[in-house]
Every structure is written in C-alpha cells, then in structure tokens.
C-alpha cells in the first residue's frame, strides 16, 4: 500500500536532534582520538595512532583501570545474578507477602546514584558507620575496616553497593521469566517423579536462559557504566584503586584537559562494550529453547 510522503516529516525532529547532539559528537570523538586536542584551543595537531599506542603500552593507570573494571564487573555480575535468581525463586508465587517483598527489593532502583552513594558512604564510614558498629557489636572487631579508604578493598565495597542498588531490578526480570514457564511442565515433572534439583536443572534452567542472558548482559554493561556511584563515593581513589574506565575518561578530559587522549580511551571503551553486547546477543539467540 502506498503511503503518503508526509510520513517523512515524522522523522524530522527526532533525527535532527539525534544527528546534532549524538551522532555528530560520537563521530567527532573518533576524529579527535587521532589528535592532541586540549578541548580549549581551536588548534590541534594530528598525532596518528599515538594516543592508542599510549593507552595500550604507556599508560599504567589505564591498565589498572581496566583491571578494576573487570574486578568490579565480575563481583557484581556473579553475586548480583545469584542473589537475584535465588530470591526470585523464593518470591515467585503471587501472594500478598511476595508482592510486597518484590516491591521492597526493587525499591533502591528508583533512587538516584548520588543518594545511594551518600547512604553507603555513611554505612561504610569508619567511625560512624553501621557496618563497623555492627561488627563491633557482635564481637568481630578485627573485621573493622576503612571500607572506602583501603585501596585493597574499596572496589569491592563499591561492588556491594552496586548490588544493593540493582539486584531487585534483576530479581523482577527473573520473576517475569520464571512466571512465563508453563505450570504443566512442573506437573509432568512431578508425575514423572523428578527431584527438586532435576526439575530445576531440566525444566526451570533451560527455559530461564533467555532472562538469565538479559540479566547478565544488562548487569555487565551497567557495571561498566557505573560512573555516578564511583564518582560520588570515591572519585576513583584512593590511589586510583577504584578508578573505572568511565571515571578515568572524565578525569583525563575534564581534570587534565587531554581531550584527544580521552577520546581515544572512550573509543576503546565503546569497542569493549560493543564486543560484550554482540557476544551476549549471540548467546541470547542460541539459548532459546522451546518445549
């Protein structure tokens, strides 16, 4: 059926804004990544692949940053997914209590990262904080820590905050996925005399794979983009031990005004995220099982 040409006007405002404020800057970032632009002066020089070379060979902080990001990601992805799945299985059935609990567990998701950062800075506070006070109360004084000030553990403290922040959201995705599994499959398993574990392994797990992939994919990307939380809680410190790629880019660009170099790191960052997204989309496709 022929459609009136007026349809093209529907694209106009959105595409125009998208082109000016998103596509143009994104492509410019690629361009500037080959320059020594400082962001302020109008002149800059092409430096070829120098920036990329520096990122991969000369910049030890960048290497550390990638390591921190991987640590953070690993802890968050593994524990957040396990917590979300375990609790989703418990609050699966719709009763008054479970509906209330799901709403409660989901609650932190609607807060701003800055609010969550303040709440957890207080929890982790070495002298005032509830964490150290509780440890003292139960006689575990020796576990007292400067949770955000100790370079060895600060990144894990941040990971726990991130899990508190977003596990509820993942739990809800799991609940939606689990509730979509037809009840009769469980009845068949019961009649056949399957144990609880067998039922989980053979019925629940394969049918859960799509939502599990979504959760893992989302959590992975979220943990790479956890800019706000890190920025507000530690600012990347102490001694760059909590610096992740997103905060590092901000630092090089807006604290030391190396826009060219920051652009090249941001391009590397984009490639990393694109690869992860691509792999996970592929996994999502191959995991689809239907009975």
């Amino acid at each position: 059926m022929k459609i009136s040409k007026s349809i093209y006007f529907f694209f106009l405002p959105g595409v125009l804004l998208y082109a000016i404020f998103f596509i143009y800057p994104t492509i410019s970032a690629l361009f500037y990544s080959f320059t020594d632009w400082d962001g302020l002066s109008s002149s800059f020089q092409f430096v070829g692949i120098d920036n990329y070379e520096r990122a991969f060979t000369g910049d030890t902080i960048f290497r550390k940053t990638i390591g921190n990001n991987l640590k953070f990601m690993l802890v968050v992805v593994v524990f957040q997914t396990l917590v979300a799945l375990a609790f989703a299985l418990i609050v699966l059935k719709n009763t008054k209590t479970t509906i209330f609990l799901r709403a409660l567990y989901f609650f932190p998701t609607i807060l701003s990262s800055v609010s969550v950062a303040f709440i957890w800075s207080f929890i982790y506070d070495p002298s005032l904080g509830i964490l150290n006070q509780t440890l003292e109360l139960v006689g575990l004084d020796f576990l007292r820590q400067n949770w955000l000030g100790n370079a060895n553990i600060a990144i894990y403290s941040l990971a726990i905050t991130q899990i508190w922040f977003h596990a509820g959201q993942m739990l809800i995705i799991f609940v939606a996925g689990l509730q979509a599994i037809p009840e009769d499959l469980y009845e068949v398993a019961k009649i056949e005399g399957a144990t609880k574990w067998q039922t989980f392994r053979k019925v629940t797990w394969p049918l859960l794979a799509p939502s599990a992939t979504i959760v893992v994919a989302y959590t992975t990307i979220q943990s790479f983009k956890a800019f706000d939380l890190v920025f507000a809680m530690t600012g990347g410190g102490p001694n760059n031990s909590t610096q992740i790629v997103a905060t590092y880019i901000f630092d090089i660009a807006f604290r030391s005004y190396q826009f060219g170099y920051a652009s090249s790191i941001s391009v590397i960052f984009m490639v990393i995220i694109a690869i992860i997204t691509f792999l996970q989309f592929k996994a999502l496709r191959s995991d689809r099982i239907s009975y």
Binding site: I3, S6, I7, Y8, F10, P13, G14, L17, Y18, I20, F21, I23, Y24, P25, T26, A29, Y32, G39, F87, I90, V91, L101, R102, A103, L104, Y105, F106, F107, T109, I110, S112, S113, V114, S115, F118, I119, F122, I123, L128, I130, Q133, M170, I172, I214, A217, Y218, F224, K225, F227, D228, A232, V245, F250, F259, S263, S266, V267, M270, I273, T277
Partner: protein, 269 residues
C-alpha cells in the same frame, strides 16, 4: 522453609534499615549523630534540618529545575520517539530499517564517548548553563532506547488497522494521533516511567554543562552539598529525602507501572 523465610527477612532488613537510618538521621543534629549514629533522634521527630536546608540552599530552585528538565525531556522524548516508531512501522522499507538500526546502535554507545565533543559543541552553541541545553541533550541520548521499545511494540499492532484508516481517508497525522498512540498506551507508559527515573536522577549531563547555581538540578546540587557539608550526614540525608520524595511517592502509587517500565528499559543494554 525456615531458612527461606529467614533469608527473605534479612534481605528486607538490608533494604529497610539503611532507609530508616536515612530518615532518622535527617531528624538529628550533627552532635547527636556523632554521639549515637544509629539511635533515635533525642528530641523526637524534628524537622529543623529541613527548614535549614531550604534556608541555606536554593533548594526550591533546584527542585523546580529538576521538574522542568524532567517533564520536558520525558514528554518530548516520548513525542519524537513515538513519531519515529510510527514512521518506521508504516514505512516498512529500507529507510525505516536503516533508521531503526541507526537508533539501536546508539544504545550501545556509552555517554562517555560523545560527551567530550558534546561539551565543546554545547559551549559553542551557548547551551551550557541552560535548562534548554540539558533538555536537548537528554532527548537525544534517550531517543535510542525509546525508539527501540516503541517500535518493537508498534510492529506487533495489526497492520490492517493502519491500512483501513488510510482507505477511510485519514492522513498520517490523524492515524498517528487517533490510532497508533491510543493503542500504544501500555508501551508508552512503561517507557515514560523508565525515562522519568532516568532523567530525574541523571547526574552526568548537569555535571558537564551546569556550573551556575541557578540552573542546577537536584542530583548535581546534592553531590555538591558533599563539598559544603562534608560529613554532616543529617544535612546530606535531608537533601537525599527531598530529592527522592517525588519518585518515592510516585512509586508507592504506581508500583506496577514502575516495575514494568524499569524492566522494559533493562532489556536494552
């Protein structure tokens, strides 16, 4: 069974206790907090910090800025994205597919990539320290996810509906407003909530583009209280409560929609 109930309780306490501490601390003085950080406020429920923060800060101004930026960003993103989704659905040819892919790719690009050139673009256009600037950037960065969700939904609507309306002589604008929009309400409301939470809580763009107090939004203002109040947690938490109040109130009443909206958003990366 006992173990299950026990775990549910522990998780519930892990959420509730910190929130309770935030509320109680906002009603204490700094001295009280140092003396007993976890105890109840000695003077009972007192709201002195709330009046103090409104006096010391241009709190009302931040609140209004956040409201303006969020309302315009959400409604315009929805408006433009739904028009694009309608266009892509109706066109159903390579141009539509190309635009869909162009927007979908945008979901993969982290904000940190475009932010550097965007910063100088905004400077050159005179759009820093301006709510309009924030709104324009917000729309552009959330269009991809909104187009993705809305197109996905509109493609499930029966084509015959649109075609029948065309035969009846309705133009695109009429079909969009009278047919496509009303039918897409579930998906529009889910997207709206997702965008609301995102724009209300956004920190990065205000941090980049706003330095003048007159244009700061709540998350940025809150972040800067940290510089001013340092570890004066009673004041910081008073700020947290004021900044979160609208979302919390909305969540209590529209819980189901929040859950639907935030999970629709999660399907994206």
């Amino acid at each position: 069974m006992f173990f299950r109930r026990f775990s549910l309780l522990i998780y519930a306490l892990l959420i509730l206790v910190p929130l309770l501490i935030v509320i109680l601390t906002s009603m204490k003085t700094l001295q009280e907090t140092f003396r007993s950080p976890l105890g109840f406020p000695e003077g009972g429920l007192q709201f002195e910090n709330y009046t103090a923060i409104f006096q010391e800060q241009t709190m009302a101004g931040y609140f209004i800025n956040s409201t303006i930026v969020t309302l315009f960003s959400v409604s315009l993103t929805l408006f433009f994205a739904s028009m694009i989704a309608y266009g892509i659905t109706r066109l159903n040819n390579w141009i539509g597919n190309f635009l869909f892919i162009l927007f979908t790719l945008g979901m993969m690009v982290p904000a940190q990539v475009s932010m550097i050139p965007l910063y100088s673009l905004m400077l050159n256009l005179g759009l820093t320290n301006s709510l309009l600037g924030l709104i324009l950037v917000n729309i552009s960065t959330t269009l991809p996810i909104a187009v993705f969700i809305l197109t996905g939904f509109m493609k499930t609507l029966p084509r015959e509906l649109f075609e029948a309306s065309t035969i009846d002589g309705a133009g695109n604008w009429k079909i969009y407003t009278k047919v496509a929009m009303p039918l897409s309400l579930p998906s529009l409301s889910a997207t709206a909530i997702f965008l609301f939470v995102m724009h209300w809580n956004d920190l990065l763009y205000p941090l980049l583009f706003i330095t003048d107090n007159a244009y700061k939004t709540l998350p940025l203002a809150l972040l800067e209280f940290q510089g001013e109040y340092s570890t004066n947690y009673p004041m910081l938490f008073t700020g947290v409560i004021i900044a979160s109040a609208p979302m919390v109130i909305a969540y209590v009443f529209l819980q189901r929609y929040f859950v639907a909206g935030m999970t629709a958003g999660a399907v994206k990366g």
